[in-house]
Amino acid sequence: MTLLNPRISRVLGLAALASLVALAVFGLFIAPPDAVQSDAQRLMYLHVPSAWIAYLAFGVTALSSALYLWRRTRSPVWDRLAGASAELGVLFTAMTLLMGSLWGRPVWGVWWAWDARLVTTAVLFFLYVGYLALRRVPAPLETRAKRCAIAALVAFVDVPIVHFSVDWWQTLHQQATVFTPSLNAHIHGVMAFTLWLGVLAFTLLYVYLLDKRYRLEALEEDLESKELAKAIEERVQGAGTTAPPEHVEVGVGR
């Protein structure tokens, strides 16, 4: 039912918490303020790792979906993992967009800019919001799993095309409006360390949450099948005492 041993999961949770606290200390107090952007730049320590984790999460979803579709490795494990990871991917993408927006306001003067990376991330967000909507549609488990796995792979294939087209759109029309060279300036040692700490903390958090979400998915499936078994039992018992209903609607909702 679980992805990880409960003890490992607990250790992982504590490690994630500790590294997040360390990240807060480093990010807010120890790392020096940016020469150009001063304190606003500190958002980088959250923004960049969450973007990386979002990509990682969607990568895991695509890989799990492919493993589900491949007959030899087909197992409900991959379906649950794909769903759990996609949900976290959407969460981290939303965080990336939100923090990017908060960062953009003081630095660029706008909440949103039609920059290639921003637009790609927004489309990515909606691609997987659609996938999560599909996962919510009630259906027999295997049907849903196969359908969702195909949808996840189609979305994944679309990502480079979206990226490419949006990139092109921008380079053909408005060059370097918002990304000033100062943003790519050399990075201070402590800043780099803090950034890597952020990546570590978010990775730990991701794996911890993935395990929890996986367990929840498995429990939900279990509950559903138990409820179904109970309903059938009640129906069978009911049929024993009273006259059987003349017309019984059988079948899963379509």
């Binding site: 919001v129 599909l134 196969k146 359908r147």
Partner: protein
């Protein structure tokens, strides 16, 4: 029968249903024109800009039309257990996909022809640079029909299909909207050279999703 003959059979069936029921002619095409009118109302303060933004408005309208055409393509299979008929027909699932997508593409082409006349008359657009314009339109139409049919069968038979289809399909076809709009803008402004990269992108999209559709249609139809 080879693949294309089988596909033509399926497409012929769908188009015959459309010709008799006139849903495309009497519902989807007028809808497209109404949307063009609404755009003119929405952009009223900047009516002069309509000419400039016409390519984008045209393609957004086509996207809406795609949603309707795809929904229709699978609602005709929902009646009288027609989907079971398709499954049992013995036709290759890749051919089924090509046939369904082909019929949608033909309907979209009709919509596009009408809308093109609409933007020329209503938005005062001069359609120049015919070669890239036509090729971009063909590639975009194939891409839209292929992705639409793929997601159409994915959502077919679900109670929430009408609401699910747009949220699944529209983000995926975002590059088509972008590419087709840019190709049209370049063609219309006379800078046909700028249109070709977009035509290539649209072509890649069309080929890629036609391929995916041919592979995935069978398993998805089984589960629908």
């Amino acid at each position: 029968m080879n693949l294309l003959q089988e596909a033509a059979l399926v497409a012929g069936k769908d188009l015959r249903i459309e010709a008799r029921s006139r849903v495309t002619a009497q519902q989807i095409l007028p809808f497209g024109l109404v949307v063009l009118l609404l755009f003119a109302f929405a952009l009223d303060p900047h009516r002069g800009d309509l000419t400039n933004v016409a390519p984008g408005l045209f393609w957004v309208t086509v996207l809406f039309g795609t949603l309707l055409a795809v929904g229709r393509a699978f609602s005709i299979e929902a009646e009288n257990g027609a989907r079971d008929g398709l499954r049992l027909s013995g036709l290759d699932s890749a051919a089924l996909f090509l046939g369904k997508a082909g019929a949608v593409a033909v309907e979209l082409a009709a919509l596009e022809a009408l809308l093109a006349v609409g933007v020329v008359i209503l938005f005062n657009v001069g359609l120049g640079g015919v070669a890239p314009l036509v090729l971009a339109t063909v590639a975009a139409t194939v891409g839209l029909a292929a992705t639409g049919t793929l997601y159409g069968v994915l959502a077919a038979g679900l109670r929430v299909r009408e609401t699910l289809l747009p949220v699944l399909l529209l983000p995926v076809v975002a590059p088509v909207l972008l590419g087709a709009t840019k190709a049209w803008e370049a063609s219309i402004s006379g800078a046909s050279g700028d249109a070709w990269p977009w035509v290539t992108l649209l072509g890649i999209f069309a080929v890629l999703f036609t391929g995916i559709g041919m592979l995935a249609f069978g398993p998805l139809l089984e589960e629908s």
